[in-house]
């Protein structure tokens, strides 16, 4: 880790001011630091200044509104959400996703906003190789050890999005409120996370001088049923081999709205639109769940060592649909 200057800030506005100051060297925002510090220790990030958001206490905490919509401050830790009994009953997907994420120690530090902005875990990138993501030309994982990598290909990099929270938030139609130099904007979590591109080699579209201030969950999401299923190669403290967040609005047994969002399979959380469409207006049966799960894998292009993920993600999707509808898979 390189030496850096640590600057405390009390608000998003102040943070943006500090970010835009014309000082030499890179400035980075830090909140929980659970991802940024690992990057700095590996010399993958060497900011000259760390703008610390943690003192901005108004960005922390949960606000519920009548009707069920919800605002989560970006600095709220995963552990704080996990402990909230009301959220557990209203948004089971969210709580299940958080409980399967990382470890209790990490969840005590990691923030909701930071979780959405985390960098990939690809071991070629994290090992310090100059791969495409690190600014080079070649993706070593594409032809190398790629058992943990993407099965849906979105660009030059084959890293899989590591967040458990993100698929859950997308399934809940969540948005982020983003503070910029000229004001606020609201963006779907689904749109915030994007496959890295030639000129933007990070897994999101947040601008350099922008700060996520909150995450908003609409009231309509609270009434639906949902589940988050995650497969790991041990029972805790692992990124997903594959995961799925499912949310269904049911009238009786008939699906009126569906969200199926997969984790660990693409550069971004992967929304299975065809599978969702196949469920609409239908009564959930075992056959329908299998059919939708098969559709969810349409377009999968697995690599040398991750073919198993297709079968795994399909099975998780099938089970998630059935479990959400109250059917034993």
């Amino acid at each position: 880790m390189r030496a850096f200057e640590h600057i405390s800030t009390a608000s998003a506005e102040e943070a943006i001011e500090r970010l835009t100051e014309n000082e030499s060297g890179e400035a980075r925002l830090i909140a929980g630091g659970t991802d940024l510090l690992t990057l700095m220790k590996a010399d993958l990030a060497a900011p000259a200044r760390l703008i610390d958001l943690k003192p901005a206490s108004h960005l922390r905490g949960v606000k519920g509104h009548p009707g069920g919509s919800l605002q989560l401050g970006a600095l709220t830790t995963l552990a704080e959400i996990e402990r909230d009994a009301t959220l557990a009953s209203m948004y089971p997907i969210l709580i299940q996703a958080i409980r399967d994420a990382a470890t209790p120690q990490l969840r005590a530090m990691a923030t909701m906003g930071g979780n959405l902005l985390q960098q990939y875990r690809c071991w070629y990138y994290r090992d310090g190789l100059r791969c495409w993501l690190a600014g080079g030309d070649e993706c070593f994982a594409r032809t190398g050890q790629n058992q943990y990598h993407a099965i849906f290909q979105q660009g030059p990099c084959v890293a899989a999005h590591p967040s458990d929270l993100a698929p859950a938030l997308i399934a809940l139609d969540a948005t982020t409120t983003i503070q910029g130099q000229t004001g606020e904007r609201e963006t779907l979590v689904e749109d915030l996370l994007a496959a890295p591109a030639e000129s933007r080699r990070v897994p999101h579209i947040l601008g350099q001088h922008e700060v996520i201030t909150r995450i908003n969950i609409p009231a309509s999401s609270a009434t639906a049923r949902g589940i988050y299923l995650k497969a790991m190669d041990r029972q805790a403290w692992s990124f997903a081999l594959a995961s799925v967040a499912a949310r269904l609005t049911l009238e009786g047994n008939v699906v009126r709205a569906a969200r199926l969002v997969l984790g660990g399979v693409a550069n971004t959380p992967w929304r299975a639109h065809e599978a969702e469409a196949a469920l609409m207006g239908q009564a959930i049966t075992s056959e329908l769940a299998t059919q939708a799960a098969t559709l969810a894998m349409q377009g999968a292009a697995s690599l040398a060592f991750n073919g198993y993920k297709v079968r795994l993600a399909r099975e998780l999707t099938r089970r998630a649909i059935l479990l959400t509808a109250g059917v034993e898979p």
Partner: protein, 774 residues
């Protein structure tokens, strides 16, 4: 007292060594099965538990001496390369930099175990040391690494052992014309006629089984803090062998052994990887001698997992034959072991094949192969863990081919005596009892019941299976091992030994033995260990030999010291020695029960003079083989939709002779089983063969079990005192519990799926591939 020299045989990690030892006096008679003991055999909590959990225990990492500097290594980014030049001119002017070691400036920095320069011209694996920086802080040293300009000439490399064996294979090291580990290999063992045995067989199986390279991941990494004061080199080495470390450091620096003092009070794990000083310890000592200041060099987790050793990956091909009624006729093994860049020996991968089952015709071929990867080291029952997994899978398949119950097959092929030593008897062998006890406790008889195998019905996605595997291992230790027992003026005792407590509870069990024989409370005994300055030799803490080697020495010292105490008490009380006895630290008249007072009251009259006595472990019996035996049974649940395997229960039935402390013993058993479970289900070093790089030299990508992965563990010890082993009647328990776990789990998975398992670890990707498309 006159001394004598005896010759004895010591078995260590599957190899037999002849030892000459100096002995003095006689050992006390063995504690038989009926010995009445009051401290030994009780579940005493660890005497150093408070220090360990409160953070007061000082590990090598924690040592901070005045003026201490920190070293950090620059390691090869290449699997194979020549160091053409090293330019340190930018780095050496950076803040705090005190010394930079390179192959050009430091050709005499030698690894005495391998007799080669540590910083050599040719780098043989990703992670091998290319240079070392010593600076005022670790951060300063780290910052300087990227300012050292090394010109590498990349060379062709090979990381796959099967490829490395080909006649036209790339040479792992340019100067070596063969990639076979040494000229002692391939090594063949043969008894009877294997081909005839296979011809005569009514059933035969052939099994090719692969096991991964497994990393120790000791909590404390390798290395040392070394401090040279102009006369003595004091080294706080992270080692499980302080005398081995002392010898290596003395040899590397051209010092006498007695000029080197090695200290290791607490060890954060070793598991076989810490016999000696290791490169980091040698480098710290070398740098300290140059600078005249203490130097701290303890490896980062990444350095540790690239360069500090591992259990070598194996490819084992078995052919087994049996008569149609289930008697083994032939056992043929070809075992390849990937020993890494400098691995010159092969661990005991063939031991189980040679000795576990009764078989007249056996052939084993050991083929250790070097590759451009970090060098292997011993790892808790080296060779035998991977061997048992593969052999026991093959045995289950042979039983299945015969239509026999796998347990019944093992009972039928039980070996009553040691086939490796012309039928020499085992001092005890309770393996059949272990089979029966384990079968009862896991519910072997109902393992094929429909409701048990299909908990969600035949169409459901869960399958359960039950499997088992056997365990054979040494653990009888031997001489030389010494102890000194002292009684202090206040009536408390100190035991001095040169052993190490590598986390197993050595301090606690040695204190129990001393308290038992001195007849004083356990709390009145302090055990000092881990310091060569005491001058009380003990062997390495490995090979399951610590208790069985050092324990009898402590017992003998305590018995002799009690005799001296009674002489002194007799002098003051004028009562004859045989009329006195000591109970709970007080002296009584044997007949009348008269209380003469606490022993401190007598010792306190000696004007500060302390009494002491020496004890030493006697030779091993030459007419029997001492072995630990056991069996483990596993019940697993496999999710055939996701490929995830969960162990539900492990029953572990073992015989390690007398149990000195049931609490430290169960910790050993549970630890071994958990490590075995990791080996079975998730642990695997992953290598990119195109780049020759290890991809998961960390705790994120290299998975070890978490608390949620650990099943119910049911430990049953069925042994009683082994009166032929040593005066305690105890054998070691460090290695036995890890040996059968992976085999039992593999057989349980095969039972659950009805498909043969061919590799470890059984990760979801492997299980899904094994199942194929539904």
């Amino acid at each position: 007292m006159p001394v004598r020299i005896a010759t004895t045989h010591l078995e260590f990690e599957g190899q037999v060594y002849e030892q000459r030892v100096v002995l003095e006096g006689d050992e006390p008679p063995v504690w038989g099965p009926d010995a009445e003991l009051s401290v030994v055999g009780t579940a005493a909590p660890r005497v150093d538990g408070r220090e360990r959990v409160s953070g007061a225990a000082v590990y090598s990492h924690d040592v901070r001496l005045p003026g201490q500097l920190f070293a950090v290594g620059l390691r090869s980014p290449h699997a194979h390369a020549r160091v053409v030049s090293v330019d340190v001119s930018r780095a050496e002017t950076m803040p705090g930099i005190r010394l930079i070691l390179t192959r050009f400036s430091d050709p005499n920095l030698i690894d005495p175990a391998r007799k080669r320069a540590i910083l050599g011209e040719e780098l043989l694996f990703h992670g091998m040391e290319a240079a070392v920086v010593v600076a005022g802080t670790r951060e300063q040293a780290h910052d300087a690494l990227s300012a050292i300009d090394v010109t590498y000439e990349p060379l062709p490399f090979v990381v796959d052992p099967a490829v490395a064996l080909r006649p036209d294979a790339t040479h792992v090291e340019t100067a070596r014309t063969s990639n076979i580990a040494s000229e002692d290999y391939p090594r063949t063992y043969e008894r009877g006629d294997v081909e005839a045995g296979l011809r005569d067989a009514g059933a035969m199986v052939e099994v090719r089984f692969e096991t991964p390279a497994a990393l120790h991941n000791s909590m404390e990494t390798h290395g040392a803090v070394a401090s040279w004061d102009g006369r003595t080199m004091t080294v706080y080495s992270s080692t499980q062998d302080i005398y081995g470390a002392r010898g290596q450091i003395a040899s590397a620096l051209g010092l006498q052994q007695n000029q080197v003092r090695v200290i290791k009070q607490y060890v954060g794990g070793g598991f076989g990887s810490k016999f000696g000083a290791h490169h980091a310890g040698l480098i710290a000592a070398y740098a300290s001698k140059q600078l005249g200041r203490p130097v701290h060099y303890l490896l980062s987790r990444e350095e540790e997992n690239l360069a500090a050793g591992h259990r070598p990956a194996s490819i084992q091909t078995y052919r087994l034959g049996a008569t149609s009624d289930g008697a083994l006729t032939a056992l043929d093994l070809r075992a390849i072991s990937n020993t890494g860049a400098l691995g010159s020996w092969m661990s005991a991968v063939s031991l189980a094949a040679k000795e576990l089952y009764l078989c007249p015709n056996v052939r084993t071929i050991d083929l250790p192969v070097r590759t451009n990867l970090g060098t292997q080291s011993a790892f808790r029952a080296p060779g035998v863990v991977e061997a048992t997994a593969a052999l026991e899978v093959a045995v289950d398949e042979l039983a299945q081919a015969l239509g026999m119950d796998p347990l019944e097959f093992r009972v039928k092929n039980h070996a009553p005596n040691n086939q490796l030593m012309d039928g020499r008897p085992y001092s005890t062998k309770t393996l059949l009892q272990a089979y029966a006890t384990g079968a009862e406790r896991i519910g072997w008889a109902t393992r094929d019941d429909e409701a048990r195998r299909f908990p969600r019905g035949r169409d459901g996605y869960l399958r359960r299976g039950v499997g088992m595997a056997s365990q054979i291992w040494g653990g009888d230790g031997g001489p030389p091992a010494q102890a000194i027992a002292k009684l202090l003026p206040d009536g408390t005792a100190v035991i001095l030994t040169g052993t190490q407590d590598i986390g197993t509870g050595t301090r606690t069990v040695l204190a129990q033995i001393a308290a038992e024989e001195l007849h004083i409370p356990l709390a009145h005994v302090r055990v000092e260990l881990g310091d060569t300055e005491y001058g009380v030799f003990s062997p390495a803490s490995g090979g399951s030999m610590t208790l069985a080697s050092v324990g009898p020495a402590v017992r003998m010292a305590a018995v002799r010291l009690r005799g001296e105490l009674l002489e002194i008490v007799s002098h003051f009380t004028e009562a004859p020695v045989d009329a006195l006895e000591v109970r709970e630290g007080r002296v009584y008249a044997r007949e009348t029960g008269r209380d003469f007072g606490a022993i401190g009251e007598f010792l306190g009259q000696l004007d500060g003079h302390e009494i002491s006595a020496k004890g030493m472990r006697g030779p091993n019996a030459e007419d029997v083989t001492n072995r630990t035996f056991g069996a483990q049974f596993a019940e697993v649940e496999v999710d055939i939709g996701t490929g995830q395997v969960r162990a539900r229960k492990i029953v572990a039935v073992h015989d390690c002779g007398r149990v000195v402390n049931p609490l430290t013993l169960s910790s050993q058993m549970e630890g071994g089983i958990i490590q075995g479970l990791g080996f079975a289900l998730m642990e695997r070093r992953i290598v990119d063969e195109r780049l020759g790089r290890v991809m998961n030299a960390n705790l994120e990508g290299y998975k070890i079990p978490t608390i949620r992965d650990i099943p119910e563990i049911d430990v049953v010890m069925i042994g009683e005192a082994n009166t032929r082993a040593n005066t305690l009647g105890s054998l070691g328990a460090g290695e036995p519990p890890i040996i059968p776990t992976a085999g039992a789990i593999a057989n349980a998975v095969a039972h659950a799926l009805g498909k043969p398992v061919r590799r470890l670890p059984m990760t979801p990707d492997y299980i899904l591939d094994l199942l194929g498309e539904p």
